[in-house]
């Protein structure tokens, strides 16, 4: 006699409980952010204020936007080392065209975004058509974009920008606090990405692809096309980050973006997204970026030297990955 399928215990009580709770990976970053906030509030009077929070948001704005593209890529089980350089090349193209070539600033912005997007497309094409690993491809485009940025700008910083390029650095007042348009744009981008990844078929397919690419392909989803779109979109996102960078610093800086790849990966990992793909939450990435921002800001207010900030960021990353791994091993 065969066992009736329905009588086989479906799953442990613990499994069912876990299914109803948000995964540890999303609660952890929130908790870490609160703890860090509480700690710095107790250490310095200047931490807990609207203007300081606005400052933190401004400080994480650029890497926060870069990390949106990085999250998309990592969810597909890829990695993008070129992100900071794609941002830099877009910002240099925009500023140089607008200042040196006196192009209409809006057209210059469009050209900058196009260049970043085209590099993203190149990443995607090499990964899907030539079937090269993302690590190698983006390491290559990182160097190519960096070199072109230096050649095109002659390694010169571009200043005296037209007003239109500084729009996202401008502020409006909410009560006593000045908020930049750039941070609003970043938050809107996070909300859009969150909606798409959580509630739409293409978004869910990104997760499925990172989970089990072969199964996703067998279900009739064109995984190569999806990857190409993800890397191209990521390029566009880095281009937008470049606009925010220009608006925040007020110059076109050919030396920019050199640490954004690792900084964005840090934000993604702190936010609980798995580097193996298919698991994670884009809002976690925002939390991850904020955690780094809060630590840097709080330690600066406490007068701690910046090397220690880097030290603590490194420890945080390892802690985040460890807790993530341990919670998964148990499950």
């Amino acid at each position: 006699m065969l066992p009736d399928v329905a009588t086989v215990p479906p799953t442990s009580t613990r499994g069912r409980l876990l299914a109803h709770l948000p995964p540890v990976a999303t609660l952890g970053p929130l908790l870490a952010l609160f703890l860090a906030g509480a700690f710095f509030t107790s250490q310095t009077d200047r931490f807990l204020s609207g203007s300081n929070f606005s400052l933190i948001l401004q400080q994480v704005m650029v890497v926060g936007v870069v990390a949106i593209g990085q999250t998309l890529v990592i969810l597909t089980a890829g990695i993008d080392l070129s992100c900071g350089m794609l941002m830099a090349i877009g910002s240099i193209v925009t500023t140089k065209l607008a200042v040196d070539s006196e192009m209409n600033p809006y057209l210059a912005i469009l050209c900058g975004l196009l260049v970043s997007t085209a590099f993203g497309f190149l990443n995607g094409a090499l990964i899907t058509r030539v079937k090269l690993p993302p690590f190698i491809v983006t390491l290559g485009t990182l160097n190519i974009a960096f070199a072109i940025t230096q050649i095109y700008s002659k390694s010169q910083t571009i200043s005296a920008l037209p007003e239109a390029l500084e729009y996202f650095g401008r502020t409006f007042r909410v009560g006593q606090t000045a908020v930049t348009y750039g941070t609003v744009l970043m938050l809107i981008m996070y909300l859009i990405a969150w909606f798409v990844l959580r509630d739409t078929a293409p978004g869910r397919h990104v997760y499925a692809l990172g989970n089990n690419a072969e199964a996703t392909r067998l279900m009739g989803i064109d995984t190569a096309r999806m990857l190409l779109i993800v890397y191209t979109l990521a390029g566009l996102v880095y281009g937008i980050a470049g606009l925010l960078l220009v608006a925040r610093t007020g110059v076109g800086d050919p030396q920019a973006g050199q640490t954004d790849n690792l900084d964005s990966i840090t934000a993604v990992v702190l936010g609980g997204t798995s580097l193996f793909g298919g698991r994670g939450n884009i809002l976690g990435t925002l939390l991850g970026a904020l955690i780094v921002g809060v630590f840097r800001n709080g330690l600066t207010l406490m007068g701690v030297a910046s090397v220690y900030q880097i030290l603590i960021t490194g420890i945080l990353v390892i802690l985040a990955v460890t807790t993530d791994q341990l919670s998964r091993r148990k499950g």
Binding site: L2, P3, V5, A6, T11, L18, N212, E214, A215, G331
Partner: protein
């Protein structure tokens, strides 16, 4: 003249497939009848998996024809076959482990919401959960929450998700490629029971398996593939396991079998 047989649901005539010098299919015939479980067995290199791939649209045969409900069809991809109502359950549990049961069931075929959110591409998650529950219950797979990630399930339950997915969307045929190979005894029996339920709901099933006891327990007919051809189709009620294996390996010629062994 023999009495006219009903039109097979899925039929293949004289399929040929060559890979360089190797002839994987050498004029293979195949017939799947309505409402049956047809086991396909064969030694390694007998052309069994090539035959199944041709039927599932994963390869394109060099010659021969495939008929679905008596009408010739040509599949250029697995997607083509799926569009025609042929669903395949793959051996290596083709599921996305971190995603929910409901999402796995509807992967690639997600229903959208109505209204503005639907226009923005939002999925109808309520409907996905409700329909997933209905599909799983109709196969008597007892899982409480369709929101549960597939990785929290046992191997047999995961296979249950894959079977439910195929049964939910197949209109003509379900192909199962070694569905019990990765499972323990108890879970294997569970999946056999699922296969019966799929058949009892009116969907014919093609079962590829190396597990002779499973094949003899569940199959209505057994298609024996050998040397790229169909060696025989036998009736498991009137043939022994050892004779079946003998035909499969070439130790016995089909002509040596008693007449009632054939199906």
């Amino acid at each position: 003249m023999t009495e006219p047989r009903p039109t097979p649901v899925l039929e293949a005539r004289g399929l040929v497939k060559r890979y360089g010098h190797v002839t994987a299919l050498d004029g293979a015939d195949f017939q799947l009848l309505a409402g049956e479980i047809l086991a396909v067995i064969g030694d390694n290199g007998a052309g069994k998996s090539t035959l199944i791939k041709a039927l599932a649209g994963a390869i394109i045969p060099d010659a021969g024809e495939i008929l679905l409900d008596g009408k010739p069809v040509r599949f250029h991809s697995p997607l083509d076959a799926r569009r025609q109502g042929i669903e395949t359950v793959y051996q290596d549990l083709a599921v996305a482990p971190a995603m929910s049961i409901a999402e796995n069931l509807f992967l690639g075929r997600e229903p959208k919401r109505t209204g503005l959110l639907g226009w923005l591409g939002a999925l109808d998650k309520k409907r996905m959960l409700a329909e997933a529950m209905r599909h799983m219950q109709s196969l008597k797979i007892g899982i409480r929450s369709m929101k549960q990630a597939v990785e929290t399930l046992s191997g047999g339950q995961r296979q249950g998700v894959a079977v439910a997915r195929s049964a939910a969307f197949a209109r003509h045929v379900v192909i199962m490629d070694e569905p019990t190979a990765a499972l323990g005894v108890k879970e294997g029996n569970m999946v056999l029971e699922l296969i019966r339920r799929v058949r009892d709901r009116g969907l014919p099933v093609i079962l590829i398996s190396h597990n002779m006891p499973h094949v003899f327990e569940i199959a209505d007919r057994i298609h024996i593939a050998r040397l790229g051809k169909r060696a025989a189709v036998v009736n498991p009620k009137h043939i022994s396991m050892s004779d079946t294996v003998a035909v499969m390996t070439g130790a016995k010629r089909p002509e040596e079998l008693p007449a009632q062994a054939f199906a």
